[in-house]
């Protein structure tokens, strides 16, 4: 018992450290990749190749004045950034990040909440809590831009949550449960789900871009229209919290795409059993991190490739295109699985 508690404590600390570091370096990656895509150099003054830039940014966030507008409603104004960041941090509890590690004869999953079997349901529930932070920020700032941004954002996030649920159901049907581990296991040694479930992949990709408010869907904070959207009034550390929440959500979304459609930590023709119980686990975590990093890059890449949608297009795409497509795809999957007979 004691070693289980110790191991899960280690896992929590490592995951939080990696996620926080990942968030910091995703901001750098965003600026660097944006710069490269526009034929610029990007930040390169702080440390070699600008690699210490996130640390400088962090110090700056700590030392910036925290301005509270006089007309804002203080309690919810203070709560809003935390209500965005905390759900973003705790979603990582159900993201498995590698093969099991055996230590002194005991198998440990590389997953904070092991054995719940409800990973995707938890993920849907917690990710929808992020809406409260946005809504609180927009309403309590008492600013026109914030309010408009929050209304748009909440409407968009809430709409695409339906798409998220619809996209997950066919996967759960194929793998036989809402356990993310089961879905990864179903892809092991076989075809990655991106091939048979390409339609679900498209639905989830669009839904995750909309949920994280990333660029083709960044209407909530369309810089040229709404200044900063729901976090217009925030400064210093509180602003940083909104940003950390956004980037943490982006990393979760990338990890989720890798786990559900690209075989998680598995690679074709590679068996982690070859490397022994501990090294294999570490290696699989590294493979998983690389795949996730690619999808983070993909998020940034798309940002500089596609222009922003108009708001009616966003709503049209969800309610007229994705919803019927998702429902039809669930029925088609069910029919196919019946005709093919039980899996296993």
């Amino acid at each position: 018992m004691a070693d289980i508690i110790l191991f899960s404590a280690i896992k929590i600390v490592v995951v939080l450290a990696v996620v926080m570091g990942g968030v910091a370096y995703t901001t750098l990656a965003e600026r660097k990749v944006s710069a490269w895509l526009q034929d610029r150099l990007g930040p390169n003054r702080v440390g070699p190749f600008g690699l210490l830039q996130p640390i400088a940014d962090g110090i700056k966030f700590f030392t910036k004045e925290d301005i509270t507008p006089g007309r804002s409603y203080k309690p919810s104004y203070f709560l809003a950034p935390m209500a965005t960041l905390i759900p973003a941090l705790i979603t990582f509890a159900v993201i498995p990040f590698g093969e099991s590690v055996s230590l002194s004869g005991k198998d440990h999953r590389l997953l904070i909440a092991e054995g719940t079997g409800l990973g995707l349901v938890y993920l849907l529930a917690v990710s929808s809590l992020g809406v409260y932070g946005i809504l609180l920020a927009g309403l309590s700032s008492n600013n026109k831009y914030s309010l408009l941004g929050a209304l748009r954002s909440v409407n968009q996030v809430v709409s695409y949550e339906v798409a998220l649920g619809l996209g997950l159901i066919p996967l759960a049907m194929t793998a036989g449960g809402f356990d993310i581990d089961a879905i990864v296991r179903a892809q092991k040694g076989g075809v990655w789900f991106v091939v048979p479930h390409f339609i679900a992949f498209i639905i989830l990709l669009v839904a995750l871009f909309a949920e994280t408010n990333r660029l083709p869907f960044d209407l909530p904070e369309g810089e040229s229209e709404l200044v900063g959207g729901y976090h217009t009034e925030y400064s210093g550390m509180r602003f940083a919290m909104f940003f950390m929440g956004e980037y943490a959500n982006m990393i979760t979304a990338s990890a989720l795409l890798v786990l559900l459609f690209f075989g998680g930590w598995h690679l074709p023709f590679l068996n982690y059993g070859w490397f022994g119980p501990v090294l294999g686990g570490i290696l699989s975590a590294i493979v998983f991190a690389c795949k996730t990093a690619f999808f983070v890059f993909f998020f940034i890449w798309v940002r500089w490739t596609l222009p922003r949608f108009r708001y009616d297009q966003v709503m049209h795409m969800m309610w007229i295109r994705i919803l019927p497509l998702g429902l039809a795809y669930i029925l088609v999957t069910a029919l196919f699985l019946y005709l093919r007979g039980p899996i296993k």
Partner: protein, 118 residues
């Protein structure tokens, strides 16, 4: 129950470290009071009226439609896990359920609830 313990610990840590960053920053960051800093941001123009005006009713309609369809996906979750045990009967049942929903969907569409331009 033990499976959910790490979730609780993670939540606790998140609840501690996130406000902590605000508290630590309090001792470092400057606090210089100035009246103009209290103004809401409005591109440098003096604020004239409250932002709480009227908003498009579409936001409300979409929220209502969302309720219907989100509850629907939640109803589909248990079926998705157990559909191979329920067999053809379950499949037909879900088909009827979805058919009823599609009627509601067509109604909402014809009423113009899903079209934003109007």
């Amino acid at each position: 129950m033990a499976a959910y313990l790490p979730l609780g610990i993670l939540l606790l840590i998140a609840l501690i470290i996130v406000p902590m960053t605000m508290i630590i920053g309090r001792f470092i960051r400057p606090q210089r009071f100035e009246v103009s800093k209290l103004q809401p941001y409005e591109c440098g123009i003096e604020v004239t009226d409250s932002p709480r005006g009227q908003m498009s009713v579409h936001f409300y309609i979409v929220a209502v439609v969302f309720l219907v369809f989100d509850v629907e996906t939640v109803f589909l979750f248990p079926w998705a896990v157990a559909f191979d045990k329920l067999g053809l009967f379950g499949f037909i049942e879900v088909g009827i359920f979805l058919l009823l929903l599609i009627v509601a969907y067509v109604y909402a569409w014809l009423k113009g609830a899903l079209r934003w331009e109007q």
